[in-house]
């Protein structure tokens, strides 16, 4: 609780991770599926003696290397920076449990990056069979990165009872494999593998759409059709994998997907349903557009249509990643740590001793005294700002608009008591702290929602 808070007004720190992560997933999953695409395409070209394919694959592998080697790596490191700043407590838990997992991951990253470069720069310079072997090494290493990171990502949603039983005892790493092969590991791996294969096809459509259909009709037709097949195969698997995945998610969290069926009311967490619906419609559209405009009419297939499919895939990826993140609510690590970084087992202690007992991040006046307002501000940043901003994403001023001080106080009391029948319990963490903490947060929020004529003293001194 002594980490400084990374305050990002309007956007919210969670969206910093979100934007980088969505961008990264689009590329990193291409890096996995695209490796196999190049490999099988090269093998097919060799077997069938297609020199026109060979030349096109050289161009595609340059595109592949640029996209994955530059934007994939930069955004991957960006996620690390962002999660470290936004969720230091959760990042700490992950590092303590998966440090060797991550070490292995980084080894595979290195192999992946090197072989991707070797693969591109050795076209026509080494024996074709050896070149194909380089492709196999790349594909294997990139698949290994997915196999490992999938364990860590799914752990955050469903860490599993075995790991939870030892969590906080110092023996967590002894249950590494239980945490790694957690309940959603296999369905998630199947789901992500299928998406990787389909994304390889989506990105390949971008480069194959640029082939001049009038000059090279046979090349364009065969390559576009072959690329579309990569989409079709994956979209057969995705619906079943998604159902299996959701089946393994705890029922209470799965129920979050249904909150928005009958309402768009503010503060009801209905957005998850709406965003999840986008996955279905965008995925179905990708299949429809790719089949009708690419597979059935490959010669006329152009770059703008390919970009449209790519943007739809980006939309589906964004909706999927957002929904997956939201399914974790009210936790950031299922059953162990709430989304605001408070560990479930520490809530009672915080309620007794106060949220700010060890905090260094409270504004103080020249005499070293904090005010109720400044303590409330520190509590807001610590307990609320990982999900809320004042005026932007999930804006607290708008959500509490129309409430007076007594009304805000009773609302916070409800969050603090966290009764079993509280509707907010389904997606929000409890408000941890003493009665004074609740009062301080009330003071701060009331000032934001119903600003007084004069500013509090400590605020004026800032």
């Amino acid at each position: 609780m002594n980490y400084p808070f990374w305050n990002i007004p309007y956007l919210g720190s969670s969206w910093v991770i979100g934007i980088i992560a969505i961008f990264h997933v689009m590329i990193s999953q291409f890096a996995v599926g695209g490796g196999f695409y190049l490999l099988f395409a090269e093998r097919k070209a060799m077997r069938e003696g297609r020199t026109d394919w060979h030349q096109q694959l050289i161009k595609h592998s340059k595109f592949f290397l640029t996209i994955t080697g530059i934007y994939g790596t930069v955004s991957g490191v960006g996620i690390w920076f962002a999660i470290g700043l936004t969720h230091p407590e959760a990042t700490s838990t992950l590092i303590h449990n998966f440090v060797f997992g991550w070490a292995i991951e980084w080894v595979f990253f290195m192999v992946e990056l090197i072989t991707a470069a070797v693969y591109y720069y050795t076209w026509d310079k080494i024996d074709p069979k050896l070149h194909l072997k380089v492709g196999w090494v790349y594909a294997g290493a990139s698949a290994a990165t997915l196999i490992i990171i999938n364990g860590i990502l799914t752990f955050m949603l469903t860490p599993g009872d075995t790991w939870l039983a030892v969590a906080g005892t110092g023996a967590e790493a002894s249950k590494f494999w239980f945490a790694f092969f957690n309940p959603t590991y296999w369905p998630s791996l199947l789901l992500r593998s299928a998406v990787c294969i389909s994304l390889a096809g989506v990105w390949a459509l971008v480069t194959s759409s640029c082939i001049d259909g009038d000059k090279f009709p046979a090349l364009k037709s065969s390559l576009v059709k072959w690329s579309v097949k990569w989409l079709m195969a994956a979209f057969v698997i995705v619906p079943f994998a998604l159902i299996w995945y959701l089946w393994m998610v705890p029922a209470s969290q799965r129920a979050l997907l249904t909150l928005g069926i009958d309402t768009i009311g503010a503060g009801t967490f209905s957005v998850v349903t709406r965003i999840a619906l986008l996955i279905i419609i965008t995925s179905a559209t990708i299949v429809g557009v790719a089949y009708q405009l690419a597979y059935k009419n490959p010669i006329d297939f152009n770059l703008s249509t390919a970009i449209s499919i790519l943007l739809l895939a980006l939309m589906a990826t964004a909706a999927g990643e957002y929904s997956r993140e939201m399914l974790r609510k009210p936790y950031v690590i299922g059953g162990w740590m709430y989304s605001n970084g408070v560990r479930v087992k520490y809530v009672d202690a915080i309620n007794r001793n106060g949220y700010l007992k060890d905090s260094l991040w409270v504004w103080k006046d020249s005499a070293g005294q904090s005010s109720s307002y400044s303590r409330g501000e520190a509590i807001f940043r610590g307990e609320c700002s990982s999900c809320h901003t004042l005026d932007g994403y999930r804006p607290i001023r708008q959500l509490l608009a129309g409430r007076d001080r007594a009304n805000i106080a009773s609302f916070l009391k409800m969050l603090h008591e966290y009764k079993a029948d509280s509707p907010y319990r389904r997606f929000m963490p409890p408000l941890s702290g003493t009665a004074e903490d609740v009062n301080d947060l009330t003071e701060y929020l009331n000032y934001q929602v119903n600003p007084p004529a004069t500013k509090p003293q400590t605020l004026a001194q800032k």
């Binding site: 928005g260 309402t263 768009i264 986008l278 419609i281 965008t282 559209t285 059935k296 939309m315």
Partner: protein
């Protein structure tokens, strides 16, 4: 599999004998659409049509629960906050209404700049403009139906505009309102207008417009017309263009789904005729440009002079716009054709600037 194929073949044959499907497909296959670097603009008519069909579909579903009159607000509240996926239908209806008008505008400006209003397509131009005008009346009448605070006051302000007309202005305004004030009677009138009167005018006009498109085909932009016939490219309407059209429809559907999901259409407070108008009240975006122009002219020329100048400016602009097929008639790109082109660019620029300025100064 063979049995299924045989069954579907005999079904097709049965329908074909009665409806002549093969003839229709053969006719559509012979029809061609020009293929050039401006072909993208050909899709906007189809996108407008698709959004209109969505309007009909979602509108019919809303009719099931909507209750005009005194219950209007409560029924929309139930749709938004009680009915399963009611919010989705309402959001899709409201967003597609806005996208519909946007798509028609893009279609109109692309037709203007590609000079597709020239002989023999004059009636296509006139009917298209009439469809746009009716679409904005659809928007205005639909806006009041939820009867929340914003729609009430926006309609109240909007219905004051006809009163500026001498002699008949007040009579028209009172007739539309169903009295001297906006009340539940106004909602009932607007509802009848929205779901019966306007569709009854719009649908035959739309059929006429589509028939003209079918009859004359897609117009070539001037630079393509200058090319020798052998250098011009085209694709069959069926299945090539039709397939792309459907692809654009699907993409439009996704844009709509994205907007409806991320920004579901909100419902404000119930209207209170005794309450003061909320701050920042403004018309819908497609009326923002004339609203802003009137405001600017009113600042320059206070009083009736500003209103008259505004009315004259709009009337002249609209008349010039509507009558363009009559004074830009030749195929060659002479001085008159260039002036018409500049007029189009000036109109688009003016609309954009005044719309942005309007939102900027709310």
């Amino acid at each position: 599999m063979t049995q299924i194929a045989a069954a579907s073949n005999s079904l097709y044959k049965w329908v074909d004998e009665r409806l002549g499907l093969t003839e229709i497909i053969a006719f559509a296959s012979h029809k061609t659409v020009p293929a050039h670097k401006h072909s993208f603009w050909y899709y906007w008519g189809g996108i407008s049509l698709f959004l209109f069909l969505l309007q009909c579909f979602t509108g019919v579903l809303l009719l099931v629960y909507y209750r005009p009159g005194i219950d209007a607000y409560e029924s929309v509240r139930q749709i938004n906050f009680v009915m399963h996926f009611g919010w989705l239908i309402r959001s899709a209806h409201s967003w597609s209404a806005n996208l519909f008008i946007f798509a028609i505008m893009v279609h109109m400006f692309s037709v203007f700049l590609m000079k597709a209003y020239r002989k023999p397509r004059e009636f296509g131009w006139f009917s298209g403009l009439a469809l746009l005008a009716i679409a904005t009346v659809f928007g205005f009448s639909g806006y009041l139906l939820p009867m929340d605070e914003l729609s009430y006051f926006a309609t109240k302000v909007g219905l004051q505009i006809p009163t500026a007309l001498p002699w008949i202005g007040t009579v028209i305004a009172n007739m539309l309102r169903g009295g001297t004030e906006v009340t539940e009677f106004t909602v009932e009138r607007f509802f009848a207008l929205h779901v019966v009167v306007l569709p009854a005018i719009f649908l035959p006009l739309l059929s006429f417009h589509l028939w003209l498109v079918q009859r004359h085909g897609n117009a070539l932009p001037p630079e393509e017309e200058l090319k020798p016939a052998a250098e011009r490219k085209s694709i069959p309407f069926f299945p090539n263009f039709f397939r792309k059209d459907l692809g654009m429809w699907l993409i439009s559907l996704n844009v709509l789904a994205l907007l409806a999901s991320v920004f579901p259409w909100a419902l404000g407070k119930p209207f209170d005729p005794l309450a003061p108008a909320p701050a920042g009240i403004h018309p819908e975006w497609y009326f923002m440009a004339p609203f802003e122009m009137l405001k600017v002219l009113g600042n320059w020329m206070p009083g009736a002079a500003g209103e008259i100048a505004g009315l004259l400016l709009f009337s002249t602009g609209i008349v010039l716009w509507v009558l363009i097929p009559f004074y830009d008639t030749t195929k060659e790109n002479g001085r008159r054709a260039r002036n018409a082109h500049y007029f189009g660019i000036a109109a688009i620029t003016l609309l954009l600037i005044t719309t942005i300025l309007g939102y900027w100064t709310i």
